[in-house]
């Protein structure tokens, strides 16, 4: 089981893991608040300034799975994997414009989730339920994939077990994560994010400087990669004509979906001010640069002669080949800790949503703040056990397919949430009808007879299913809203979206 263990790397790996575990438990006392209230446990008391928000969102959005999957896609097919760059460029102008509005209204009305806002805006609890369920269903496989990222590096350290023992290190790591998330809430990943992000910056900068030097420069790296793609269809250093529209629609669709996920919302709403969000929108692209550089590792793996059957092993194998053992341990620890932060925030986001938008409206409307907090803590455990079960009992491919489908589902709440920030023209009924159509249609498009397909052909060009389905969603929402006008009473006035300072000036 441990005969082939790389001891130096493993010791460095375990040391960092233990250090962040201590941080996770200590975090409960950081910026202390009453953890028996949901906004304290689940949003860190909305006390995170520009710096913390930057680290937390960076640690939360750029997940361990991303760090493995993006270079894996580049390794497999080349240029197309770079869709992650336009995708992340599109996000921040959107965050800059829309998210401060959401933050303002959430702060004034005490909202903790996107569904809270949707209910406040449209007064339709079935729409609230639809948005909540979408978030939870899309999040579960995403957490499971963080475990995949973690397991990849544990395997690369040389750990091989039989049967359930194969998953023993992962299970231990996850139980520890579950315990400190339970105790400290959002403060734990916020604190660990500092460690994660700094470690990732160090390893990426080292990798993109040291590896090309050893391989003879970037020119050589790209030449070697070009050779590796020769003769392959739809793979290469540039996009083929047939890949252009899929590339564009995948970038747009992914960007629209990202900030609908509960973990993104949790990160945004935990900011202390709209100013912290605007600052983050301007500084978070630093992580996108890192992501683009990580994508290039896929080419470097070709140049270094890494040959793997599963492209997801390309980056771990590249590091083993190019770096000294102690630094391999450091890089792998960065990736594993990189899994902990999003997994924690995702489970908190899903737990907040379950408590606020499913349990309270449908089961127990008279919950006290301390009931809410206890239930959310419990749910954060349940969500994590569920994700662990997915990994232990189902093929990994299932989790990957579900996560890709998650993007197709998540984008279906975009009209309800984002249009709602600007207009009351749409009705709850209309948006719910749109959601039903978009969700069903998107799933139908994606569910191929043998495998999941992300793209469908429309008018002769391939397009990302999420975008096709959300277009149908918007058409239906518009038509039905025109037919059924909303009630006129406004729970939220236009001033609720403005910053407090601007509202005072007006």
């Amino acid at each position: 089981m441990i005969d082939h263990l790389n001891w130096t790397a493993t010791i460095v790996f375990v040391a960092f893991f233990v250090a962040v575990t201590v941080l996770g438990f200590v975090a409960s006392r950081w910026k202390a608040g009453n953890l028996d209230e949901l906004h304290e446990w689940g949003l860190g008391g909305r006390r995170f300034g520009s710096w913390i928000t930057w680290f937390l969102l960076g640690g939360d959005l750029y997940t361990a799975y991303t760090i493995i999957a993006v270079p894996a896609l580049v390794y497999a097919i080349g240029a197309f994997g770079f869709f992650a760059v336009p995708y992340t460029i599109l996000i921040y102008p959107f965050v800059f414009v829309a998210m401060p509005r959401l933050w303002n209204v959430a702060r004034k009305k005490g909202y903790i989730t996107a569904s809270d806002f949707v209910y406040g805006r449209y007064g339709n609890k079935w729409l609230e339920l639809a948005v909540a369920l979408t978030g939870i269903i899309a999040t579960m496989p995403y957490i499971a994939l963080q475990l995949v990222g973690m397991e990849k590096v544990i395997q690369a350290l040389g750990f091989h077990g039989e049967g359930y023992m194969a998953h023993a290190p992962l299970t231990i790591a996850f139980v520890i994560l579950a315990l400190y998330t339970y105790k400290s809430g959002l403060r734990a990943p916020a604190m660990i994010a500092f460690v994660k992000d700094i470690m990732i910056y160090i390893f990426v900068i080292a990798a993109v400087i040291m590896i090309p030097i050893e391989l003879g420069g970037y020119g050589k790296v790209f030449e070697a990669a070009a050779k590796a793609y020769e003769g392959k269809q739809n793979a290469g250093l540039l996009l083929t004509q047939a890949q252009v529209v899929p590339f564009i629609t995948l970038a747009i669709g992914s960007a629209m979906a990202l900030f609908m996920y509960p973990h993104s919302m949790t990160g945004v709403l935990s900011a202390a001010s709209p100013k912290a969000i605007r600052h983050s929108a301007m500084t978070l692209p630093a992580y996108s640069v890192i992501l683009a550089l990580i994508a290039l590792l896929g080419f470097m793996a070709h140049a270094a002669g890494v040959k793997v059957a599963n492209p997801q092993d390309a980056v771990p194998q590249l590091f083993l080949k190019m770096f000294p053992d102690w630094f391999v341990g450091f890089c792998f620890a960065a990736i594993a800790i990189g899994a902990l932060v999003p997994a924690a925030v995702m489970s908190i986001g899903a737990a907040n949503t379950f408590t606020r938008n499913i349990w309270r409206p449908f089961v127990d409307p008279n919950m006290t703040p301390s009931d809410e907090s206890s239930l959310a803590k419990l749910m954060s455990l349940v969500v994590k056990v569920g994700a662990l079960a997915v990994i232990l009992f189902m093929p990994t491919k299932f989790a990957i397919d579900l996560q890709l489908l998650g993007g197709v589902w998540m984008i279906q709440v975009f009209p309800a949430v984002v249009f709602g920030l600007y207009t009351r023209w749409f009705s709850g009924t209309g948006l719910l009808a749109g959601w039903v159509v978009g969700f069903t249609f998107g799933t139908y498009l994606s569910w191929g007879p043998t495998a999941w397909v992300p793209m469908s052909v429309v008018g002769g060009v391939g397009m990302f299913n999420a975008l096709i389905a959300v277009a149908a969603n918007i058409v239906v929402a518009t038509v039905v809203s025109a037919a059924f006008r909303p009630a006129t009473d406004e729970a939220i006035g236009h001033r609720d979206f403005e910053d407090a300072i601007e509202a005072a000036k007006a």
Partner: protein, 58 residues
Amino acid sequence: MKYLVLLIPCVIALWVPFFNTAEPALGGVPFFYWFQIVMIPGSVVFIWIAAKIEGSDL
């Protein structure tokens, strides 16, 4: 209207036919890659301009 400036980086980032070429390469990196990487800080400039136009509290 004050946010229209934010559409500029989005349009450039999605204008694939413009940057889907190998030349001019930079230090061995094809244009497709280095241009997109440069566009990331480039997009920040537009967000900064939008913030100035808006006069928001920064």
